[in-house]
């Protein structure tokens, strides 16, 4: 095995992830090659340094904090399924209300128009500007021109 190939496999060799055959070959090479030995030494000291980085302890009430959060979530979850139903019914009512409201509103507007026009005609009649007959009223109220 040549140095280049050993260098590539050295990391996996250190991590103990090679096949028996590969391990044996690298062992043989390391016995002879000082350069590769040095590389492995550096890898080992690097590993040690990373492992030796400061370890922190969890805060004192870590477990109880998490358990509190879990219990709170659990309570919230009990409401979360019906709340979906609530929101759907709300939306349904909103849509229904809108649908019902449209014809109602139209009716009111029509009524107002009728009153306005009849008032206008009455005023005209009182001032004797126009001569209104029953038929005209009929036509206006019912929109029925054929009656003429």
């Amino acid at each position: 095995m040549k140095c280049n190939r050993v260098k590539l496999l050295l990391s996996s060799f250190q991590d103990n992830e090679l096949t028996e055959k590969e391990r044996a070959e690298i062992f043989l090479h390391l016995k002879k090659c000082e350069k590769c030995n040095h590389e492995l030494e550096q890898l080992e000291s690097l590993k040690k340094e990373i492992k030796n980085l400061n370890e922190f302890e969890p805060i004192q009430n870590f477990t109880s904090l998490v358990m509190d959060k879990i219990n709170r979530k659990k309570r919230f979850n009990m409401f979360s399924i019906p709340s979906l139903v609530y929101s759907f019914t709300f939306i349904l009512f909103f849509i229904l209300g809108f649908l019902i409201n449209v014809p109602l509103k139209n009716n009111v507007e029509n009524k107002q128009k009728e009153i306005y026009i009849s008032n206008l005609l009455m005023q005209g009649q009182e001032l004797s500007l126009i001569n209104v007959q029953d038929k005209t009223f009929n036509m206006l109220y019912n929109g029925d021109i054929n009656e003429k």
Partner: protein
Amino acid sequence: MFSDDEIIKSVKSGKTQNFEIIINKYNKKVLNFINRMIFDHDESQNISQDVFLKVYENLNRYKMEGNFQAFIFKIAKNLTLNYIKKKKRVLFFSEHFSNGIEGKYFQYEATQYKNIEDKIKEELLISSIMELKENQKIALILKVYLDFSYKNISKITGWSIPKIETLISRAKNTLKRKIFLQENKDKNVYKVREK
């Protein structure tokens, strides 16, 4: 002692309190795994709490395969990556739209050291780890700090074993180059001075 799977079974059947055993068993490992990814003590405390919350919420997804540790660290990895992404985005905006804030990505709380040399060494190592790509960092820390096998790492990350092998090897080589080159440079300076 009960196995993880037995404890999880009891938690699933309604004994929520048993989840405390899982938390106590793994919280230190999770905390330090996250801290080695972001080097921010306070944030890693917060994230590790979220990890266990998320683990509890996703217990239904765990398929009793005798590898609960991998399940926990999968979630820890995801949450940490989310945090890093968010933090980078925030810093990107604060760097580009306001002049006062210095662009230091992560702050590491200095701890007590026996001597200055150790401190410098550790700071060099930390800054070199922080400069690694996220994927390399994850694979390296899972292997070196937590001693997971490549197979386990593959379960946690979803990467293939050859990919993990390459990531770890590259990460080690980058760190080695930075740390030992630095040391050699220092030695050279001393040599010149001695002469």
